[in-house]
């Protein structure tokens, strides 16, 4: 098995390593393919622009990923597509999965059954909106040439760390040593690093194993484009082969519409009715104050000096949720050390670490003034990471021993749904939560390694 230090950054797309924060303008283009050969020509034009994880200080970055239908549309044989995970093959919008994730794809503006097929995602990042528009024009020209139709262009707002409800976001991303920037590497967080294979296929995951991915017999890669998997390096592919999955990742894109006015007025009304300070109630729902300061570290007032604080747990100082409610958004999305068995222990942290995702989202404003987030997550195992977090932690009314609580920000609600704020002597319970966040589009993509991308463009399988 390859040692962990062999991370092939120059064969990974840059998004795995960076959210491209130095490139504040971004747009996510979703395309529908038709003719296989012409689609591959289009892909090659994009592939030539793709930025690797080894590149530094680029003025414009392009990242490309394909859905399962996209891989089939460029002619990749079914037997190869079947090497990907079942979740990816089926896509995000199957009926059983929608129930599981709390989605209603029939009402989606993109990615649902009514809209055009979602095959390719091209994410473009630039220093200025002028540079961004130049790049997009070039990509669209390539699309037109390749008979590729634009399904939707997801415009994003200029990058900012504050999400539409007004909270600092993106603070807690898993620390992966091999992907750390030099600044991070110089001052690493106290938490155990998460193994690279949890996010990048072809490396050891948290069980010390290789995550399932397509590995082809050598004959499947006649031009030797793909990374070579040596015999004995992967428990599932003992003979080795051509590693189509290596340096790739699964990318989840979901468009989340956020009712910012509804959130503010609800918080104000409920605060007035309950006698709680409105800012405190909003913080109780999120688990952090608007500045980003965690309730677990400052429970009675916002402390901007703790805006980026991330080295904290729940078990020792807040097991009952008196500071940060059990059902608060950040306690659900990352329960840290509060899970069975033995909350507060390293074992508890290890269980949580099996369900981490890397977030790369950007916010948007639509033409009607609506705001929201194009949520982007990267992970190696959709079922154990993204879907688990969404279903078992965020949407689950029974999370953490609760009964009818939902994530107060994003969980799907019904008549019984409440948000419980623990307090002494008697807790507060808020019923009648409106929907603040609605998923209005989404898809699963494969973000290939760069050699894998060239293999897909060539079409010699």
């Amino acid at each position: 098995m390859a040692p962990a230090t062999d991370a092939e950054l120059d064969d990974m797309q840059g998004l795995l390593r960076s959210a491209f924060r130095t490139l504040p303008s971004a747009c996510f283009g979703v395309y529908t393919l038709s003719d296989a050969a012409r689609s591959r020509t289009f892909l090659s034009r994009i592939a030539a622009r793709v930025t690797s994880a080894a590149a530094r200080n680029v003025p414009v970055a392009t990242q490309v990923s394909l859905s399962a239908t996209g891989l089939r549309a460029i002619g990749l044989p079914d037997a190869v597509v079947e090497g990907f995970s079942l979740e990816f093959q089926a896509g995000i919008a199957t009926p059983a999965r929608s129930r599981f994730l709390g989605d209603d794809p029939a009402a989606w503006t993109w990615g649902g059954p009514a809209g055009p097929q979602v095959d390719v995602l091209v994410c473009t990042y630039a220093r200025t909106s002028e540079e961004l528009h130049t790049a997009i024009a070039e990509i669209d020209a390539a699309a037109a040439e390749g008979g590729v139709a634009g399904a939707t262009q997801l415009e994003t707002l200029t990058l900012s760390p504050i999400e539409p409800f007004g909270f600092r976001d993106g603070i807690s991303d898993p620390f992966v040593r091999e992907l750390a920037s030099s600044a991070q590497a110089a001052d690493p967080p106290k938490a155990e690093p998460v193994p690279l294979g949890e996010f990048v296929l072809g490396y050891r995951n948290i069980y010390g194993l290789q995550t399932q991915r397509p590995v082809l017999p050598d004959s499947g890669d006649p031009n030797n484009v793909l990374p070579v998997l040596s015999p004995g390096a992967d428990q599932d592919n003992p003979q080795g082969g051509a590693d189509l999955g290596r340096n790739g990742s699964y990318l989840v894109l979901r468009t989340l519409a956020q009712d910012t006015a509804g959130f503010e007025s609800h918080v104000r009304e409920q605060a007035a009715a309950s006698g709680l300070d409105a800012e405190l109630l909003a913080a109780k729902m999120v688990g952090r104050w608007r500045s980003g300061a965690p309730l677990a570290m400052s429970h009675d007032r916002d402390r901007p000096d703790l805006a980026e604080a991330n080295d904290f747990g729940y078990h020792d100082n807040d097991p009952l949720g008196l500071r940060c409610p059990i059902g608060a958004h950040i306690r659900r999305s990352n329960p840290r050390d509060s899970l069975d068995p033995q909350p507060g222990s390293a074992q508890s942290l290890a269980v949580t670490d099996r369900h981490r995702i890397m977030r790369r989202g950007r916010k948007f404003t639509d033409t009607d003034g609506g705001q929201g987030l194009h949520f982007v997550a990267l992970n190696g195992n959709l079922g154990r990471q993204f879907e688990f977090v969404q279903h078992t932690w965020l949407n689950n009314p029974k999370f953490g021993g609760l009964y009818d609580d939902v994530d107060p920000l994003i969980g799907p609600r019904d008549d019984r749904s409440v948000f419980t704020v623990p307090a002494r002597p008697v807790r507060r319970r808020f019923a009648g939560l409106p929907d603040f966040v609605t998923t209005v589009g989404g898809a699963y993509f494969f973000l290939p390694g760069i050699r894998a991308l060239h293999y897909l463009c060539e079409g010699s399988w």
């Binding site: 079947e82 079942l86 093959q89 089926a90 199957t94 009926p95 059983a96 999965r97 129930r99 599981f100 995951n205 069980y207 194993l209 995550t211 399932q212 428990q235 599932d236 009952l320 069975d340 068995p341 269980v351 099996r354 079922g383 154990r384 879907e387 688990f388 279903h391 078992t392 689950n396 009314p397 029974k398 021993g401 009964y403 623990p422 307090a423 002494r424 002597p425 008697v426 807790r427 507060r428 319970r429």
Partner: protein, 438 residues
């Protein structure tokens, strides 16, 4: 207080009648979903299910190019037919349950089992009962989350919890001025004067002294037997383990992945309630050593489920309501069923993270299971191989009834603690902890 029991009935489906059985099961499922099932009128049923166990092992993807499947024929070489199983987890004895079922659920029994071997035409309750008894199978081992907690108690205590939550919502502003002990005292007084919840000021029934003594004697007797027999156990046990180790190094391992269509069918049934019913069938590896290992391990599971893992946790996994192992077809196949909270993904992750050794020691005797090392190690720790194996061997549960489909084990235990806290006055510290349960 009830001591739970488990009943399993299995009947062979008549040739060509599988579609008719499936149609009858679909009707029975609709009745459960619409709340009109006769199961609800029979007291003391925690969970009940009907499922089809395919005779042909290939049906659910058991076959594998590298694995020889002996499981589609019995020892006499006859093909194993498809069968229907009825399984229920009860407060009363299987016998009383089957009598009640015969009398009160005649329509559903007739609809499903009239397509099975030997079912009487137009039976009366006595004939149904006789037929059911003739088709009963004793399970090899069963697990109960908390021994002795009956359906009635669980449902009553859930009502208490809901009532208290509404009460606290309505009176929060008055109560907030009080100390925790005073809040508790005042709530307790109201409970005492409210007929609907007055039961809660009395403690829940506990296991009788006689049955505690009986359990203790059983443990003592087993320990004594193990001590007396320890020289023999060593002499037999060491070569036994070595022999199994030799087998496990060369046993074939299935590399089959579950098909997208079959996983879609299974997922369509899952995650409808806060619990999920799980069922799987496995073929025991050939040879008497494996069959005997299964028998011994199941005996050990039965013992530890009764005497060790009887208070809400199966070796660290707290989300399982009931589980059961039934050996079928001349000890060639084992059916495992359970009811657990949350998604199958989280259930499998719990297995892999917390109970891997327990799964390995039993399931590694099943054909195609991921390779183990000394029976306990490896196996389930091979995450994807283990998840694929479970999905490939999983059976759909056509009909699943639960007396309390929206309660998790954690809710049930919390409700019981809430009730326990109402039976006496509490100190401020105790009252704070009690109030945190609401």
């Amino acid at each position: 207080m009830p001591g739970q029991s488990a009943v399993s009935v299995r009947a062979s489906v008549l040739d060509g009648s599988l579609d008719a059985v499936e149609a009858a099961l679909a009707d029975a499922k609709r009745d459960v979903l619409e709340g009109t099932t006769s199961l609800a009128t029979i007291g003391g049923v925690h969970f009940a299910r009907l499922l089809i166990v395919p005779g042909d092992a290939d049906v659910q993807g058991l076959s594998n190019a590298d694995v020889q499947i002996p499981g589609d024929a019995d020892v006499q070489g006859r093909a194993i037919p498809d069968s229907v199983m009825y399984m229920a987890d009860l407060d009363e004895s299987p016998d009383r349950h089957l009598r009640a079922l015969s009398a009160q659920a005649g329509a559903v029994l007739d609809a499903v089992f009239s397509h099975c071997e030997g079912y009487p035409a137009a039976p009366d309750p006595a004939q149904r009962y006789t037929w059911l008894c003739a088709h009963e199978i004793v399970s090899a081992a069963s697990y109960v989350n908390t021994i002795g907690r009956g359906v009635e108690q669980i449902v009553q205590e859930a009502g208490l919890h809901d009532w208290l939550e509404v009460y606290l919502d309505a009176h929060r502003s008055d109560l907030s001025a009080l100390s925790p002990a005073d809040v508790h005292r005042s709530v307790r007084t109201v409970v005492e004067h409210t007929p609907q919840v007055r039961f809660a000021i009395h403690p829940a029934p506990t296991t009788s002294t006689a049955s505690r003594v009986r359990a203790l004697l059983q443990v003592a007797a087993s320990v004594a037997v193990v001590i007396v027999a320890s020289p023999v156990l060593l002499v037999v046990g060491i070569p036994w383990v070595l022999a199994v180790h030799v087998l496990e190094m060369t046993d074939s391992v299935s590399t089959r992945r579950p098909g997208a269509a079959s996983v879609d069918r299974l997922r369509a049934q899952e995650d409808q309630f806060s619990y999920n019913p799980f069922a799987a069938v496995g073929v025991i590896k050939p040879g008497s050593l494996r069959r005997r290992t299964v028998a011994i391990v199941l005996r050990a599971i039965a013992f530890s489920a009764r005497h060790v893992f009887n208070k809400g946790s199966l070796a660290g996994v707290t989300t399982i309501h009931f589980a059961r192992w039934v050996v079928l077809d001349d000890q060639q196949r084992v059916v495992f069923t359970s009811y657990y909270d949350g998604s199958l993904e989280s259930y499998m992750d719990d297995f892999i993270d917390k109970l891997w050794w327990g799964l390995n020691v039993i399931f590694s005797n099943g054909l195609g299971y991921p390779r183990t090392d000394w029976l306990f190690f490896g196996g389930a720790r091979k995450e994807q191989a283990f998840k694929d194996y479970l999905r490939c061997h999983q059976l759909g549960t056509a009909v699943s009834y639960a007396a309390y489909p929206t309660l998790t084990t954690s809710n049930i235990i919390n409700n019981a603690e809430i009730r326990a806290g109402l039976t006496r006055d509490l100190s401020d510290v105790e009252a704070s902890q009690w109030l945190a349960r609401l």
